[in-house]
Symmetry: D2
Subunit: 115 residues, 4 copies
């Protein structure tokens, strides 16, 4: 195994860690149309702190959010509301991954761009 | 039991729910000096969504945060970093509660102001 | 305000804290028909550790669980699956509270038994 | 890129997801010497539900647990208390990963066994 492969594998592992962490840290948070902007920013800035994160974009689906409001005008963040794009860099190798709803399941997947 | 007492008891119960929820939803979040502002705002706006919350203020202790940074420049939000002031209103009865570190324990307590 | 009232109010506040904590700590946990027993026991034993908890019973709705299994044979614990009975004691005052689904919302409520 | 490499990369990504999920779902749980067994079992059985998990072992450090008990006789599960061994299988490729404390940091790492 050469170093290039090792960096790539480590970056892929780290990308998985970040998506799993984001999901289980922040789903369940109370969220409404009024508070959705601050939650998106906080999730981005929180996960960006973690080791090897090069960039992250978090979008919460406003349509799905509004469809799920309870009688008090809010709902809980669910995995299906999340669209996340993530770049993780180890040494010189950058890996892109994303989370998005696919057929009713919040899928996490690797994208095959590289540097 | 008269209605006044019932409203007061319900408000006290709701105040407890909010503090327990806030604590176990958001502790563990990665946080750094750069991201602490957005996390404070998101926690406030998230919990403010919940039923009966009249007002909420969340402050994260920057000194404790900086003392706990890991080698990657961030740490995790802990209960001891949190200072929360919360007002919950049921009917016309408003209850104030807070969370703050007392003797090394993140204490949640009722304050005996009323409207 | 006499001591009896103060104990009762404190017990009510503590009951709220426990239910809010339980909800936001454990919802989101992967759960299946095979693992539901161990999750129920762990939630009970975990929350029973907290100050002033006299007793706790946690039941996860197997029917709702099975209706929500994903293609991999599991789902996530949601508030609507939870039925919780909780007794909290401060000094000699015991308060009973519960969480259960009411009209599509995971309601937390005080019960008016006393000792 | 051949299929063998793709399976291996996918397994590495999935291993990261599981460790990130486990960490941020279950840290913060109240735990004591009396309840630690049920929490270990519940974490194992919960994460074992997730897609592609072949096996998982979760051990919580009793010594560290006891050193951190608060005045009420419990503490919160932290990353530093966790030792996790995980095997994830995609197609015929099995990846081993672990989490354990290394120099005061809860490190997640890939192990280089293969099938």
């Amino acid at each position: 195994m050469n170093d290039g492969i090792k960096s790539r594998e480590k970056a892929i592992f780290e990308a998985g860690i970040k998506l799993g962490a984001l999901y289980h840290q922040f789903t369940g948070s109370p969220v409404s149309p009024e508070s959705v902007d601050s939650l998106e920013r906080a999730i981005e800035e929180s996960i960006r702190n973690q080791a090897h994160v090069e960039s992250i974009s978090v979008k919460i689906d406003r349509t799905l959010l509004k469809e799920n409001l309870n009688r008090f005008g809010y709902t809980e963040l669910t995995g299906l509301m999340l669209e996340v794009e993530l770049a993780v860099k180890v040494d010189e190798t950058c890996i892109h991954a994303e989370m998005k709803p696919v057929e009713g399941y919040p899928l996490m997947l690797l994208l095959h761009e590289r540097t």
